[in-house]
C-alpha cells in the first residue's frame, strides 16, 4: 500500500468494500502564472473504474493543495473539466482510469491546447465564451431541434425542451490543427454554434458572423473536433452544413432582385 495515498483507508472508513487498486504514476504539467511549465510526478493508488478527475481531485486534497484545475458538475454537463490525458483531449469526469492506462502505468495530464494557461490545468476561456456569445446560441432548445437532424426522433409524443448538446468544453478547439496556428480562427465550437442558431432561426445574421476567412473557411477538414467531442455535437458536420447553407444562400441571392437581396 502506497503510504502517500490514503484512498484505501478512506474507503474503509466510509464502510465500503475495497476494490482492486492499481498503482499508477500521474504526470501533471504544472506552472504558476507566467512561469515556465514543468512536469510533476504523483504516485497514486486508484480504482480503475473511477474517473481521471477523481484522481486529480485526490492529488489536490491529499498531496498538493497548490494544484489548480477546473471542475464543477462531475457528470459532463458543465464542460469545465476538459484536459489532455496522454495527449488526447478528454472530459476527465467521465473518463475512467481503466480506459487510459494500465496497472503500474503512467497517466499524463496537461491543460487544453490553444487556450492561454492561467496556472497548472486552468486555461483562460474568456475569449472562447465571448465568441460563443456573439452567436447568441441558446442553451435550451426544443427536443426535435436539440439533436442532429439525421438522428431519429426521440420515442415520445410529448414535445418539450432540453439543454442542447454543446457544453462549451473546448475539447474541439484544443484538438483542431487550424486553431493551433491561428489566433483569429473562430474554432469549431463557435462555428457549430452558428450552424445550430441558423438552423433554428433561419436568420442570416449569424451567417454574416461566420462567413469569412477566419470563420467557416479556415477549416481544412481534419475532423479531429468531431472525434474528441464528448457530447454528440459533431462540429465538423455542422461546419460543412453551414458552408452548404451559406453557398446556397449566396447563390439564391444572385438570382434575386436588388431590393430583395439578403446579405451575405
Amino acid at each position: 500500500m502506497c503510504r502517500f495515498d490514503p484512498i484505501a483507508s478512506i474507503i474503509h472508513n466510509h464502510g465500503g468494500t475495497l476494490p482492486t487498486l492499481w498503482k499508477i504514476t500521474l504526470e501533471i504539467l504544472r506552472q504558476r502564472q507566467n512561469q515556465p511549465p514543468h512536469v510533476e510526478l504523483f504516485e497514486l493508488e486508484v480504482d480503475p473504474d473511477e474517473n481521471v478527475l477523481d484522481c486529480i481531485e485526490r492529488v489536490w486534497a491529499f498531496h498538493d493543495r497548490s494544484l489548480t484545475f477546473r471542475h464543477a458538475c462531475h457528470h459532463s454537463t458543465c464542460g469545465a473539466c476538459g484536459m489532455r490525458v496522454n495527449g488526447v483531449e478528454k472530459l476527465t469526469c467521465i473518463t475512467p482510469v481503466r480506459e487510459v492506462t494500465h496497472p503500474n502505468g503512467v497517466l499524463r495530464v496537461e491543460p487544453l491546447r490553444n487556450f492561454p494557461v492561467l496556472s497548472d490545468l486552468v486555461v483562460d476561456v474568456s475569449g472562447f465564451f465571448q465568441r460563443m456569445e456573439q452567436t447568441q446560441l441558446s442553451s435550451i432548445a426544443p427536443l426535435s431541434q436539440a439533436k442532429l437532424p439525421f438522428e431519429p426522433n426521440p420515442p415520445t409524443i410529448w414535445q418539450g425542451q432540453r439543454l442542447i448538446d454543446c457544453i462549451e468544453c473546448g475539447l474541439c478547439v484544443s484538438a483542431c490543427p487550424a486553431a493551433n496556428t491561428s489566433t483569429s480562427y473562430f474554432g469549431p465550437a463557435v462555428l457549430a454554434a452558428a450552424q445550430h442558431v441558423y438552423r433554428q432561426t433561419n436568420n442570416p445574421t449569424v451567417m454574416q458572423l461566420v462567413n469569412c476567412a477566419d470563420g467557416l473557411w479556415r477549416c481544412h477538414s481534419a475532423y479531429e473536433c468531431s472525434a474528441v467531442c464528448p457530447s454528440n455535437v459533431d462540429p465538423a458536420w455542422r461546419i460543412m452544413d453551414m458552408r452548404r447553407a451559406t453557398v446556397a444562400h449566396s447563390l439564391r441571392n444572385i438570382f434575386k432582385r436588388p431590393n430583395q437581396k439578403v446579405a451575405p
Binding site: 468494500t17 471542475h71 462531475h74 469545465a80 465564451f129
Partner: protein, 387 residues
Amino acid sequence: MNSRPSILIIGAGFTGCALAHDLSLRGVNVTVLERGEIASGTSGRTHGLLHSGARYCVTDPEAAIECITESRILSQIAAQCIEYNGGLFVALNDQDLAYSAAFEQGAQATGIPIERLSPQQALQREPNLNPNLLAAYTVPDGTFDPLRLALAFAATARQNGAVFLTHHEVQALHADGQGRITKLTAWNRHTGQQQTFTADLIISATGAWAGQIAAMVGASTVVKPTPGIMVAYNQRLVHHAINRLCPPDDGDILIPQRRMVVIGTTSFEVENPDYIPITAEQTEQMQRAAEALVPAIANTQRRGVYMSARPLIVSGSSGRSLSRTFKCYDHEALDGLPGLITITGGKATTCRIMAEKTADLACQKLGLSAPCRTKDVPLRSYRLYYS
C-alpha cells in the same frame, strides 16, 4: 458611509453568486473570493432538480412553499439554463399509493398545482417508466444546469460591477483594534502569492465549509457536511423529473439532463467535505432505485458517479431528518465578532431567497437602505461572466 460600502463574499457557489448579484443591485461594491472555480464545491455537483416543493408538501410545508415560490421565480429570471418540463410523482406499490391522500392534501395546502394521472396516461408521457406503476401526479418540477445557473448570477453581478476572484483561497481573517473583522488574507493559487483584502463587511457563503471559515476566528457555525451520491446514465430515458411518491427517501429522484438521466441520492455525514470517496455499495443502491423507476436503466451504461456535500444545519438530530432551511449567523450578535456574517444551509432552488435575506441583514448592518430587486430582474447570459 461616504462612498459605496464594500463587502467581501467568501465562496462562489449558488449562495455566493446570488448574493453578489443581489448586493451589486443594491449599490454595494462586491468582491467574491473562491478557492476553486465558480460552483466547484457542492453547487456544481447538485442533482439539478428545480424543486416544485411537492417533495416536501407533507413533511415540511414551509420548505414546500419556499420551493414553489422560488422555482417559479427562477424559471422566469434564469430560463436560459432550465429544462422546465414538469415532473411526475409515481406510486410503484401499495405503500406508495397509501401516501397519495396525504400528498394531495399537502399539495393543496401549499399551493402546488398537481394533477392525478392514470397509469396509462403516465406511460403515454413517459414510455420508459416502470409499467407496473399504480398512479402518478404531475408537478411543476424542472431540471437545471448547475454551473450555468451559478454563472448566470455571477455574470449579472459582474455586469453590475462585482469582482470575482477565482482560485483565491482565504487563509486567515483579521480583526482590527476594536475587534471588528475587516481584513482577510487570501492565497492567489495562480501565482502562489498572498494578498490582503479589506471590506466593511465579510460574508462567508461557503456552505458545507462554513465551519472551517468560522473556526478561523473562533466563531460559532454548526453545519454538518452531509454528502449524497449521484449516478448519471448514458441515455435520456425520461423527459420529466421522476419522483417516487413517498416521504423523502434515498434514491427517490431521477432527472433528465441533456442526453443523460441522473439518479440520486443518499445521505450520510462526514467531517471533511474536501474529498468524499465513492463506494460501490452506494452506487449499487442507486442503481436499484433507478431500475425500480425506469427498468431500462439496467441496460444503460453508467456515464458518471459523483458525491456532493450538502450543508445541513444541525438541529439536534442527524441524517435525513435534518432541517432543510437555511440560516444566517450574525457573528456580532452570536460571538461578539462584528464584521462577519455566515450564510449556510438551504438548497439550490432557494438560493435567491437565501441571498435576499442575507443581503437584507448585511444592508441593515451597514446602514444601507435598499430594497431587494432580484425577483424581477432577469439574469444576463451566463457567458457574460467571461466578458
